[in-house]
């Protein structure tokens, strides 16, 4: 077990920082990165791999839908749902 459990807040802020750096554009937790045309389909792959390696999760099958990756906020929810160490807000 990790000493500090993952929280939605921590993941959200890590992901907004990552997206901001990667897209060279200020990204807020609720910004839809696919609707705004900020990211290419190439980046979608990077994003999936980044989430998997950073949070030690496997995102497979139905979980790969685009709606799980639109904003930093929904990505945080996805990570919590798939991560054993996560403390889901509705737990």
């Amino acid at each position: 077990m990790k000493t500090s459990p993952l929280t939605a807040e921590a993941i959200e802020s890590a992901m907004t920082a990552y997206l901001t750096e990667r897209t060279k554009t200020e990204v807020k937790p609720d910004d839809d990165i696919f609707a705004s045309g900020l990211v290419s389909s190439m980046f979608a792959m990077e994003l999936v791999v980044h989430l998997e390696s950073t949070y030690d999760i496997a995102i497979i099958g139905p979980e790969l839908k685009i709606d799980n990756f639109r904003t930093a906020k929904v990505m945080a929810a996805l990570v919590l749902r798939l991560s054993e160490d996560g403390v889901a807000s509705d737990a």
């Binding site: 897209t23 045309g37 980046f43 979608a44 999936v48 099958g61 685009i66």
Partner: protein, 362 residues
């Protein structure tokens, strides 16, 4: 029976007393024989790339290659005073080739031995072998496609693209727009299929089904009204990328069945797979049909799975799927399905495409 040796993708030349006769820094003149020039031109026309690893003064040697009219044939030349093995390894790295696909020709036994010691996979040849290289099987591809003949130009254009990308600061999509990309989708004929042979020959990471469709099978379906065989080419302001994709589609009354979708890994960064999928979804929506796609996960085609899933494909059941008999036997094929709706065209490139809602006239 011995197996055919793997093809050489790049031949690395020594200069002094190998490519040309004489030693540049000692002799008053070095000469390039017409026979050697013919070898260079012939290998180039077969799509085999060539480079240089020479211990020489860089500026002098390159100037001489230009005077001899052959400089343009050599990509990422390594001319300096370092070890030849380092030069050969650097060339392989720049071109993203495995060392086992690199050949090295040098008249000095010690240089060949040094390369063999540090890079044993590299095949070495002597100056005496030069004129017979074109007769060897490892320098004789079975098929020379139109794209293979232009391979050197495409690599040179690629180098310009890399420089442009490295110096660009901004969102990826803006960079892509700055390239003036044009994707042309075309109902294939025999010639078009030859151009995508390299894609259909290998099961590349961008082959979404993970299943190989032999060339004859695709050719046999060209005139079949129930099937569409489509090829894809991509061009940008730096030049052609060549043929970069192939699709095989079977028409059913309620659903189009995508049996093969392979795109070259060279164009992954341009989102070619997603642009194609979106176009197909839009065409199917206009025809009032659903889309189904064969997908077999392999350790190399995850990118394609993500492209499918992000385009909205799921494994949910649908009545339209009952009429589909998959070409492929075996239980590891997923049938991905999508209820189609109109999609906007790509923001990053111009699309030239046929109207699939109207069957091709034969």
């Amino acid at each position: 029976m011995s197996e055919k040796p793997p093809l050489v993708k790049c031949l690395v030349w020594d200069l002094d007393n190998t490519l040309w006769q004489g030693t540049l820094l000692e002799d008053s003149e070095v000469r390039l024989s017409e026979e050697v020039r013919a070898v260079i031109v012939e290998l180039d026309s077969r799509g085999i790339l060539q480079s240089v690893a020479s211990k020489n003064d860089h500026d002098l040697a390159w100037k001489r290659l230009e005077e001899l009219g052959v400089a343009e044939y050599f990509l990422v030349p390594q001319i300096g005073w370092g070890r030849k093995s380092d030069s050969v390894i650097a060339i392989a790295k720049e071109l993203q080739f495995a060392l086992s696909t690199i050949a090295f020709v040098d008249d000095t036994p010690a240089e060949r031995a040094e390369v063999t010691y540090h890079a044993p996979e590299v095949r070495c040849y002597t100056h005496e072998d030069v004129l017979s290289l074109v007769d060897r099987p490892e320098f004789s591809p079975a098929v020379v496609t139109a794209d293979a003949r232009r391979r050197r130009e495409m690599y040179q254009a690629n180098a310009l693209r890399t420089v442009a990308k490295d110096s660009f600061n901004g969102p990826d999509e803006e960079f892509l727009r700055s390239l003036d990309l044009v994707m042309a989708i075309k109902r294939a004929d025999e010639d078009d299929l030859s151009r995508v042979e390299e894609l259909t020959l290998r099961t590349s990471q961008m082959n979404a089904t993970g299943v190989h469709y032999p060339d004859q099978v695709l050719r046999g379906l060209l005139a079949d009204p129930g099937h569409e065989v489509l090829t894809v080419t991509l061009t940008d302001k730096f030049g052609p990328h060549g043929a970069v994709g192939v699709l095989l589609l079977e028409r059913h009354p309620d659903v189009w069945h995508l049996k093969l979708l392979a795109t070259s890994c060279r164009v992954v960064t341009y989102g070619a797979g997603t642009v194609l999928l979106n176009w197909l979804v839009d065409q199917a929506a206009q025809a009032g049909v659903h889309l189904a796609a064969d997908f077999r996960p392999t350790d190399r085609n995850r990118m394609m799975e993500i492209a499918y899933r992000f385009a909205g494909f799921t494994q949910d059941p649908c009545d339209c799927l009952s009429g589909i008999k998959s070409f492929i036997d075996g239980g590891d094929i997923q049938c991905l399905h999508l209820v189609t709706a109109r999609r906007e065209g790509p923001a990053t490139m111009r699309l030239v495409s046929p109207d699939l809602t109207v069957a091709a006239s034969i």
